[in-house]
Amino acid sequence: MKHISEIDMERYLDGTLSFVGRMLSRHHLSKCNECAAKLESLKKDRDELKRLSSIMNDLDDADTKSYNVTCESVTQYFSTESAEDDEN
């Protein structure tokens, strides 16, 4: 039995397979536990990536906000260390 390629699995999830390709894949998935498990794993990975991607955007926003807020004590703390290095 010829298994579904990784690329075709991606295309199946994206809905970019041809009509025939989609039907054949669906038929194969109903009979092949291995491919069904791989597809499930791929879907899980993608869903997690999307979820984490949204949090990455929050981290980017937090980067901007924390950069804009003057953090005198922190920058002063690190500046002291930098000045000591220059002296050495």
Binding site: E6, I7, E10, R11, D14, T16, S41, K44, D45, R46, E48, L49, K50, R51, L52, S53, I55, M56, D58, L59, D60, A62, D63, K65, S66, V69, T70, C71, E72, S73, V74, Y77, F78, E81, S82, E84, D85
Partner: protein, 210 residues
Amino acid sequence: MVAENNVKDENMYPKVTRQTLLDKLKDGDNNAWKEFYEAYRSLVWLKGQDYNLTDAEQQDLLSEVMAAFFTAQGKFTYEPSKGKFGWYFRKVISSFCIKIIKKRLPLEEDDAGQALDEGRNKNSITEIPDTQESEDDEWKALVLRQALQEIKQTMDSRKVQCFMRCRLDDEEPGKVAKSLGISLATAYNYCNEVFNELKYLALQLKRQYE
């Protein structure tokens, strides 16, 4: 996604000794603390938001957390005996958030002992959010972001662009392929290649913090 399944065989790639940020900090690399600050301030800020800290309190939080990991001489003070770094770091942030909330002025009371301003109740220490699940996701996202930043520097920019547009920005693969002047099959190959590399790097980074 940082699970160990479907990760490329490490033996296929030459082992490169890569000094981790924690190693550089322990070795007293003076630039490493700047890298540490830049890498983690967004996570500290995000946690502060979860606790509804004001901007001024956020400043305190950043200072306190950084001071918890560095001595006045700029020496890194984390000891592995305290636990996994990622876990310990998050605990430090949470404990300082709670400490900052507790510093807020107590509610004023009238003669009968009733709170005069109910609006200040929202700042009460009883409203500490349950953040465990979000902490794990935020840490994973931070690690993923670091892996992505590394990939942007090491992999072909067109491949990375293809992946980011298809998988992060949710653009249609066909449109992305057309705009990049590549076939649809090539676009999928690019996405796969970058995604596998991303998972591999994220796993490496995750292991560094354990």
